[in-house]
Symmetry: C2
Subunit: 244 residues, 2 copies
Amino acid sequence: MEPALPCAACPLRPLPDFKPVTPTELASIYDAKVGQRLCAAGATILAEGQVATRVYTLLKGWAFRFKTLEDGRRQILNFLLPGDLLGLQGELHAALPHGVEALTPVNLCAFGSDALPRFFSRHPSIALDITWLSAHEERLVDDVVLTVGRRTAMERVAALLVHLYKRAASAGLIETSGIQLPLTQMHIADALGLSVVHTNRVLQRLRKGGFIRLEDQRLSIGDLQAMRRVGRYWEEPAPRRPLL
Amino acid sequence: MEPALPCAACPLRPLPDFKPVTPTELASIYDAKVGQRLCAAGATILAEGQVATRVYTLLKGWAFRFKTLEDGRRQILNFLLPGDLLGLQGELHAALPHGVEALTPVNLCAFGSDALPRFFSRHPSIALDITWLSAHEERLVDDVVLTVGRRTAMERVAALLVHLYKRAASAGLIETSGIQLPLTQMHIADALGLSVVHTNRVLQRLRKGGFIRLEDQRLSIGDLQAMRRVGRYWEEPAPRRPLL
DNA sequence: GTGGATCATTATCCCAGGTTAATGACGCCG
DNA sequence: CGGCGTCATTAACCTGGGATAATGATCCAC
């Protein structure tokens, strides 16, 4: 594990979607960090069922949470982008009920094992932020349930692409006319409860309809509103989120 | 709203699945309660998109969280049983991203609007319990995503019935050879991303296979292990959960 | 006791999406 | 260079589960 990067120079924190912190809070957060963890693309960050986990903030890169059935069927629960907290479930429960895998090379800020109790006993505002992040992730998963349970394949794909586009933007990952989308079609399929083959069919239709450009892991969406309509997908405007 | 019932005489707390509390904690919890709210079966407890919500603990009865698409398709996110906390999402976000509806007559313990900040600043152990409950609910929803995304209709129904059976048991609702299951087949369908008709077909098969008895809203499961196998459903042993 | 809800049940029909398989395009390694 | 693994793409085929509709059974309210 690398030594911890100084939080004062955090590249994420200045982004407009993150909630400002007081200098005291920032110091406590930095204080609780024990280092950076680097993972290669495709690496397992946290194993399904793992017992002692640590809490991390994802600083750089993409990852995803997933669960599997014993016969190999896999379901992606949600994607993790810079600023997201991970490992909280393992810290609070006995074993981690899901796995976490890196999609790109990933840089994680690691917290010490005593960070959680310390925040809760000494820094109520940070404790509340942690709870907020937990509740926020649940909100995302709630959306996934609606998508997978009640949207058609076309709606699912459109909704997911809009969702990821907006989240990437919020994490400062917008580039000229598009984002880097480090997913294979299998990831999209596993996130939406579809087969790879059908995912491909739907993507073709979206491309031929002129809704998206997607090649070489670069996604651009010509008309976001049109895509929202296709996916029946409208999120509420997101408030600024805390960052640990 | 009725006056708050004394927490010292709470019928839930003595159950073996709840974590013990210190007298101090119990006093603080009781202190934060502002009363009981009663809702009829079928009533909306919290409306989708509602702005100012309150936090409640479900004391008695069954309810469910849900989201809808604008054309009416509905997805049930999870079921709420005695001991569950609800409304946290509304307290932490601007608007409640899902609705909550009562399945039976329901009795809720209501917390004051300042309860959350007060717990966090003065009672770290209770604050941590709240976070635990939030993370735990997310765990349940994660399971739902796996079920709806990757299980077959038969597996879904079996897994849901086992899940609800165990949760009802944990809330002290086991009666002679079975539980009261206050759901219509439409609720089951909406929870599993199925149509009502197909849900009925699957239930018939489970009945004819001798796996379940289900009539008149009473469910009994002859062989839990067999049902688990049908549903490919195995939960980890649940640790004792906190109760607010 | 009769018209109208709601809910369970079944049958008929049919399509959205799964399964299998074959083909290419790359990129990587020896 | 040639073999291999991963991905994307398409075609052919088929099935799990959706849609629609009809029939009862209760349980009201009037």
